[in-house]
Symmetry: none
Subunit: 219 residues, 4 copies
DNA sequence: AATGAATGAGGCTTCATTCAT
DNA sequence: CATGAATGAAGCCTCATTCAT
C-alpha cells in the first residue's frame, strides 16, 4: 500500500510543483504583467529556486504559453458547466461572469489583458487567443441555437450574431473593468457585468414584432 | 531678427521633432509592443540618434505615457467630428470605426491592447485609460441623448446604457481583431466592425418610427 | 559468507562503476569536449544518476584529471605491447597508430586535443601531459636504441632525436586529423598516419643495409 | 586639416577599439582558455564595459571565431615573408619558428591549442583550422618546389610530403612546448624548434644515393 | 548504494540612460 | 542642438554540486 502511494505520489508531486509554479506565475503576471515579471519574481513567489522552474518549463515564454493554454482549458470547463445550466440565461450568466472571474485570490483581468497584448506579437499566443475566442463564440452559438429563446429572436438575428455581441461586449466590459479596478470592487464589477447581460437579454431574444422596422435598416 | 527667428522657429521645430519621435514610437509599438521596443528601435525609425529622444522625453515610460495621452486627444478629436455628423448612425459609425483605425500603414491595435495591459499595472496609464473610457461613454451618451432616435428606444434602455453597449462591444471586437489580424485585412476588420453596429442599431434604438431617417443613413 | 561476498564484490563492483563512468565520460568528452560536457551528459551516457558520479569522483575536474591519467596508463599499455613487437617498424606502427586510436565508436581525438589545451592552464594536467610525453619519447628512444635499425642511422641521428621526430610528427598529424575529421573517415586517417611513418622510416634509419628485415615488415 | 584628421580618426578609433578588445581577449584566452574566460574577464582586461564588447562583436563565439581568422591572417603574413627569404632553409626557419611565436607579451601557444580543441566541436572553427592547415602546407610545398634543394631530394620524397612532415612535426613540437612551458623559456623552446628543423633538413633534402634501399621499403 | 529534485552562483547578453564631443 | 559610444544593472538561463529519501 505504501508502494501504491509512492507510485502515485511521485508524478503527483511533480504535477503539484508544476501547479505551484503556475500559481506563482499567475500571481506575478497579474501583479506586474508578463514582461516585467522576472523568473526570479516567480521563484520567490513560489518559494523555490530559479533553476527549478526550468525543470518544469523550458523558458519564460513556455510558462506564458502554457498559462495561456490553461486559460483555454478553464474556459472549456466553464462552458461545459454552462451547457448543463437549466436555462439559457443562467448559462450565459455563467459564461460571461465566470469568464474572467477571480482566482482564489484575485481577478486575473490583468493576465487576460496581457494575453491579448501578447497575442499582437507572439504567433503562438495569437493562435491560442484565436482558438479561445473561436471556441467561446462557437459554444455560445450552440447554447443559443439549442435554447427555447432562439425561437423568438428579432428577424435578422441569428444565433452566431447574438453570440458575437455577447462575447464582444463581455470582453469590452472586462477591459473597462481593468481601468475601474482601483475604484470598484470585484463584486461590483461582476454586478455590472450581470446588469449588462440583463439589458442585452431582451434585446437579443425576446420579442416577436418589430420586423418591418428592422427590415428597412438592414438593406 | 535672428534671435526672433530662433525664438519662433525653435519651439516650432521642437514640436515637429516631438511628433516625429512619437510617430516613430507608435510605429514601433504597433509592431512589437511597448516592452520589446527599444529606444534604439525608435531612434532608428525616427532617423535620429537615441540621445536626442532624451531631449524631448524624460524616459521610455514618459514616451509611453505621453503617447497614451495623445490617444485621448485623438479620441477627443474624433468625437468632436462625431458631434458634427448629420445623423446619430453616422456619428456612431465614425466613433466605433475610427476608434482603432489605422495609422498611415497599419492598425494600431497592438498599441491599444498594450495600453490596456499597461493600465492593469501602471497607475498613471490606468487613470488615462479610465478617462478615455469615461469620456468616450459620456460623449456617446450625449450623442444619443441629443438624437431623434433616443425618443424611440426600447423600454428600459437609457442613453447611457446604449452607449456602454456600443463602446464595450466595439472594444471587445477590437480585441477579437487582434487575434484575427493575421487572417483578416484591415478593411475586412473595419467592415466587420461596421456590420456589428448595423446589427446593434435596430436593437438599441428602433422601437417604432424613424424609418425615413435611417433609410438615408444607409445609402 | 554474505559478508565475505560483499567485501569481495563491493570493490569489484565499485571499480566496475568507476570504469563505467569513465567510459561514459570519454564518450562525452570525445563528442563535445571537456567544458561543454555536463555532469548530466555523463550520467545519461552512463545510465546512472548524477549523484552517483560524485560517489566515485570528487568533482568534474577530478573526472578530467583521472581520465588524463588513464590516458597515460593506456599509453603505457600500448608501449608495453610495442616492446614485445617483433620488429621496430611494427613497434612504431603500434605506437603511432594506437596512440590516438578509436574508442569502440570513434577516435578520441577531441579528448586528446582538449587535454593539450587543458594542459596550457591546469598545472595538474600539464604535469600529466609532460609525463605522458616524456614517457612516450623515452620509450620510443629505448625501442630504437634496442633495435637493429639503430645501427644504420644517418650520421648525427641519435635514437632520441629520431624518437622526437616520430612523436612530434605523429601528434602534429593528429591535430591535422581533427580538422579533417568531417571529411575523412577514421580508417582513412589511420592510413595516412601509417603512410607518414613509412615515409619517415627510410629517412631516419636506413643508410645502408638491412633490406631483408624491412622486406618482412611490409607484407 | 583637423577635419581630415577627424574623418580619418573616427573609423580609426573604432578599429582601435576592436583591436583593443581582441588584444584583451587574446591575453585572457592565453591565460585561461576560451571557455573559462568570461566576457567580464575580457572587459576588465580591456578596461571597458562588458556592453561595449557587444558593439564590436556579436557574441563571445564571434570573438573566438574572429580571433581564429586573425590567426590565419598572421600566418599568411609570415608566409609572405618566408617567400621573400633568400634560402629555403631560412624560409622554413621563419615559418616553423614564427608560426607560434610570442605575442608582444607571451606565447600564444595556449590559444592555438584551444583553437585545435575548439575545432573538434565547432564547425566554423574547424573549417578555419582546416584552411589554415591547408594554406600552411600548400605554401610550404610551393616554397620547397621552387627551391634548389628540391632537386636533390631522396627518391620518393615529393615537395608535398616534405611539407607535411615539416608542418606536422612543427605542430607536434608546439604541443610538446605547452607541456614544457613551465620548465623551459620561450627562447629555449624556439631553439629546440630550430634544432629539429636542422635535423630534418638533411634528411629531407640533401642526398642523392640510397635509392635502392628505399625502393624496397615502399612497395 | 542510488536517485534525481533542488539549489544558486555565475555566465552571456540586452538595453535604458548618460555624456563627451 | 545632435550624436552615438560607453556604461552597467539586470534579465534569462545553465549547470556543478548537494541532500533528503
Amino acid at each position: 500500500m505504501t508502494g501504491a502511494m509512492t507510485l502515485q505520489s511521485v508524478p503527483d508531486h511533480s504535477e503539484e510543483r508544476r501547479r505551484q509554479i503556475l500559481r506563482a506565475a499567475m500571481t506575478c503576471f497579474a501583479r506586474r504583467g508578463f514582461h516585467p515579471t522576472t523568473m526570479n519574481d516567480i521563484s520567490v513567489e513560489a518559494q523555490i529556486s530559479v533553476g527549478l522552474i526550468y525543470r518544469y518549463f523550458d523558458s519564460k515564454d513556455a510558462v506564458i504559453t502554457f498559462m495561456a493554454s490553461e486559460h483555454l482549458d478553464d474556459l472549456r470547463h466553464v462552458l461545459e458547466q454552462a451547457r448543463r445550466a437549466p436555462t439559457l440565461f443562467e448559462a450565459l450568466e455563467l459564461v460571461s461572469i465566470r469568464h474572467c472571474e477571480e482566482q482564489p485570490e484575485h481577478l486575473h483581468l490583468a493576465f487576460v489583458a496581457d494575453l491579448f497584448a501578447e497575442a499582437a506579437r507572439n504567433e503562438q499566443v495569437r493562435v491560442l487567443v484565436r482558438d479561445v475566442t473561436q471556441f467561446f463564440i462557437d459554444s455560445v452559438t450552440d447554447l443559443i441555437a439549442a435554447s427555447e429563446e432562439a425561437k423568438t429572436v428579432p428577424p435578422g438575428m441569428v444565433p452566431r450574431t447574438a453570440a458575437e455581441i455577447i462575447v464582444d461586449s463581455t470582453r469590452g466590459m472586462m477591459i473597462r473593468a481593468i481601468a475601474d479596478s482601483s475604484t470598484l470592487t470585484a463584486s461590483q464589477i461582476r454586478e455590472r457585468q450581470l446588469a449588462m447581460l440583463r439589458t442585452l437579454w431582451p434585446l437579443l431574444f425576446s420579442r416577436s414584432a418589430p420586423a418591418a422596422r428592422v427590415e428597412q435598416v438592414q438593406p
